[in-house]
């Protein structure tokens, strides 16, 4: 019984894992793009800050050569400073004594296409038009070279260009120091920064992707690093997929084990309950048989006494009535147990005879008179089954007495009981209504199960066998009928209404 849901669960689990893997593949790519986006933004910010820094340096630098040279010696990002006006370079200019660095700068820029005519500093597409500052980059030797320039008014030379050639290694080092190192935050992926010739400048992440693998994600950087790009590689085993499916498998396994353990427990529990119940029934069955004979004797002699004391001592008569009514009740109880036990063993037998149902009902109700009076329960009778029909009087009696007993036990506070009978289309219908606390909706079906008792305050103080309604239903079904709890009661009414339908062909037919 437990195998099928478990199998289903296993299948669903694997289907889920497969779906999860697809989902995760997409998620990984998304995550990769997010990570690269973050890195790119970070570098863009580094360059923004750098530009501010260089702007400030150029602002305060002035045009005095000694100051400029001092700056050149001390600023860790500067390789060479230059100043140009509309006629070309003012500094460094071969007209004055130059250091070897300055001379090598002049040699270096000869190889580039940069012209120091400020009106037409050639540059990449990003900077077309008239700008007051910007980058000029060129590729030479083993990498990218950077110049940052600004245009400004000078008192002596009119409009001039001031620029800085950056120390490429210092710049790259600055970039690297703004990127993460390998640590536990990036154990399952690798991000590499490539230059224009596809050479790795820097990389981080513990995972080492195999050669010739294509990146899971790739992204180029913002200007002026647009010729560089980032690549993202994920370890297909470690990052989430592998780890996750392993986790999922383990989780699923745990769930399976729990379910199996639970079903074994429940199975044992329920068989034990059944075993207990049948033991209980068979014990009570045996005891009941033993009880029946003395009970009959008690009742017989009590009735004899009642006849003798008729009309004499009221008090004695009252006590006798109690004995008779209580022995009657005990008798019904014993009958219930015996019928239930019989039903459990080999099915109840059913012996219909021609009777008038209302007569049986009335007789039975009479026997409850004393009990109703002492509990102040008012009885309303709506008896409309006065035709002779084929019915098993024992079954009818037992059903009705059980229903009334229940009202006595559980709904006495309503102080009201209504018994209605009718015969419609060969169906005998018996309805017993009370105004007690009623039955909660969710328990409507359970109350017909054997040994079930509505566990609430009300029943806590009342003893019962828990077989009453189960017996009612069994007996009704034996009679080709049904026993139900009606839910059509008016909102104002509390209480429960039980309806029994029995198949009762008319005598003649």
């Amino acid at each position: 019984m437990a195998i099928i849901p478990i199998g289903l669960l296993v299948w669903m689990g694997f289907a889920e894992i497969r779906m999860e893997q697809d989902r995760q593949k997409q998620q990984i790519q998304y995550l990769g793009r997010q990570r690269l986006e973050l890195v790119k933004k970070n570098l863009t910010m580094v360059f923004k800050e750098l530009e501010d820094d260089l702007d400030q340096t150029l602002d305060t630098m002035g045009t005095e050569i000694d100051v400029i040279r001092d700056l050149q010696r001390n600023h860790n990002l500067i390789r060479q400073v230059f100043i140009a006006d509309k006629d070309g370079l003012i500094y460094p200019d071969s007209g004055i004594p130059l250091s070897s660095n300055e001379r090598s700068f002049l040699a270096r820029i000869k190889e580039t296409d940069i012209s120091f005519n400020f009106l037409q500093i050639p540059d990449t597409e990003n900077q077309k038009g008239t700008f007051n500052k910007g980058w000029h980059t060129w590729f030479m030797g083993n990498g990218l070279h950077f110049i940052y320039w600004t245009k400004r008014e000078s008192t002596d030379n009119g409009i001039i260009i001031q620029g800085i050639e950056l120390n490429r290694s210092a710049l790259l080092s600055k970039i690297i120091n703004n990127l993460p190192e390998t640590d536990k935050n990036n154990s399952s992926f690798r991000i590499s920064l490539f230059n224009v010739s596809g050479i790795i400048l820097y990389q981080w992440g513990f995972w080492s992707p195999p050669e010739n693998i294509t990146a899971d994600s790739s992204m180029s950087l913002d200007y002026p690093l647009s010729s560089w790009h980032l690549e993202y590689y994920i370890n297909p085993e470690a990052e989430s997929t592998g780890g996750y499916s392993l986790l999922l498998t383990v989780l699923l396994l745990v769930i399976f084990l729990v379910i199996i353990a639970l079903s074994i427990y429940l199975f044992r529990e329920s068989t034990r309950e059944i075993r207990d119940a049948s033991q209980k029934v068979s014990f009570v069955n045996q005891v009941s048989h033993e009880l029946k004979t003395p009970l009959t004797n008690i009742r017989m002699y009590a009735e004899v006494l009642e006849g003798k004391f008729a009309g004499e001592d009221r008090k004695t008569k009252k006590h006798l009535n109690i004995i008779i009514s209580e022995t009657g009740r005990l008798g019904r109880l014993i009958n219930n147990v015996l019928s239930f036990a019989k039903d459990q063993k080999n099915g109840s037998t059913f012996n219909p005879v021609p009777v008038i149902p209302d007569e049986i009902i009335s007789r039975l109700l009479n026997s409850f008179n004393y009990s109703f009076k002492s509990r102040e329960i008012k009885l309303y009778k709506k008896l409309n089954a006065s035709n002779t029909v084929m019915i098993d009087p024992d079954i009818l009696e037992q059903i009705l007495s059980n229903l009334i007993s229940n009202v006595e036990k559980y709904a006495a506070d309503g102080k009201w009981i209504e018994v209605e009978s009718s015969i419609i289309d060969e169906i005998f219908i018996l309805t017993v209504r009370d105004r007690g606390p009623g039955i909660p909706d969710n328990l409507k079906n359970k109350i017909f199960e054997p040994f079930f008792r509505v566990s609430n305050k009300l029943t806590d103080g009342v003893s019962g066998t828990g077989i009453g309604l189960a017996l009612v239903r069994t007996l009704a079904e034996t009679h080709g009928g049904t026993a139900v709890l009606l839910s059509d009661k008016k909102p104002a009414d509390n209480g429960a209404s039980f309806q029994i339908r029995l198949k009762t062909p008319l005598e003649e037919s």
Partner: protein, 442 residues
Amino acid sequence: MKATAISSVSALIFLSIFASPLSAATIDLNVSVSNPFLLADQEQSIFLKVGLTGGDLGNERRTPANVSIVLDRSGSMDGEKMARAKEAASIAISMLDDRDIVSIVTYSDTVSVLVPATRVSDRQYIQRRIETVFADGNTALFAGVSKGANEVSKFLEQNSVNRVILLSDGLANVGPDSPGELGSLGESLKRSGVSVTTIGLGLGYNEDLMVQLARRSDGNHAFVENYNDLTRIFRYEFQDILSVVAQDVYIEINCPEGVVPLRILGRDAEIIGNKVYTTINQLYSNQEKYLLVELSISPNQVGSRMNVADVAIKYADMKTKRSDQLFGNSEVEFTKSIETVERSVDKETVIDAVKQISAEVSEEAVLLRDEGRVEEAQALLEKNTEYLFGAASALESEELLNLGDVNAMDAEAIEDDSSWNESRKRMKADSYEIQSQQSYGD
């Protein structure tokens, strides 16, 4: 300073010797020329030496260190090398205390900051972290140095010795890999006040790159052929670091008309017209660092005296934790007597000049050998040996004699292909040791 009024450097030294020990100078400036007397009426060239010697550290509080140890953990380091490297780093840590700041950075394919810059209060923790390092992968040297310098820069202070110590046994193969690029990085770090000491282990590293990085950042360099020597080198390096007395030394030399600085020997310096600029990152207790400049002196009359250089030094005094200055100059006198010229030669200065020239020649020989011109290289070294032996006897210098011996051996070794890799590394390291006046070698 009073001493500057008396425009003689020897007087300055005299004063500092007899000054009360309480006000002992942190550094001594010694400006001298190879030839105090020159022949009149002809153009001549001489050597100017600007020497700076760190004072006694005594029992005074030493300068705190801010060091990043950058360890190559590429695959080639596996085994005994890695074990010795870890041991060396651990011993270095044990030489520091809670005045100092240390960080440990490792690199292979990528860089990891094993111990972020931290005060050395729990040595055992740092040493335990070092123990976890294992070898594997490639050599991202540039990034490793960058991250190490980044850790140092977190606590960058003028009053502490800021240094990256790089240990590598292999060729940089992730990121920039040329000596020029690493040199530029060193240059940038030097300007931030950080030196990089490069320790090359075994025969697999690129000595040009490692020397450039050290030279441009004014750090030390060592060639450690046998990993068993690592602990010794680390010990030297840390002793060096812990004996710093002055930092950020800025030297400016101004030559009057008639004197032209021609070239610098050894160190990197900048000549602009009649001015020379350079910086030295650190001065150590009882060690001399110097700058040698070849000057061209225009003809002068007999009997005239001439100031050939005004020297200004700015530095951060680690004892007083203040910025300080020193001034000095040097004069020459013109004579007709060759004998006077020869007799007055400043032997110390000339010896230093000979060493620098010899180191230059050695580098030239390496370049020739690289081009496959083995015989020319050998001939050059042989000539250099003769030069050194000649100078040694003329100047009565044992140091030059030893250097001559080394040169003679190099001349022999240079033609042996099988040992060239090793010889080259040793020659480069030896030259750099002379050029940077490094206090320790292999």
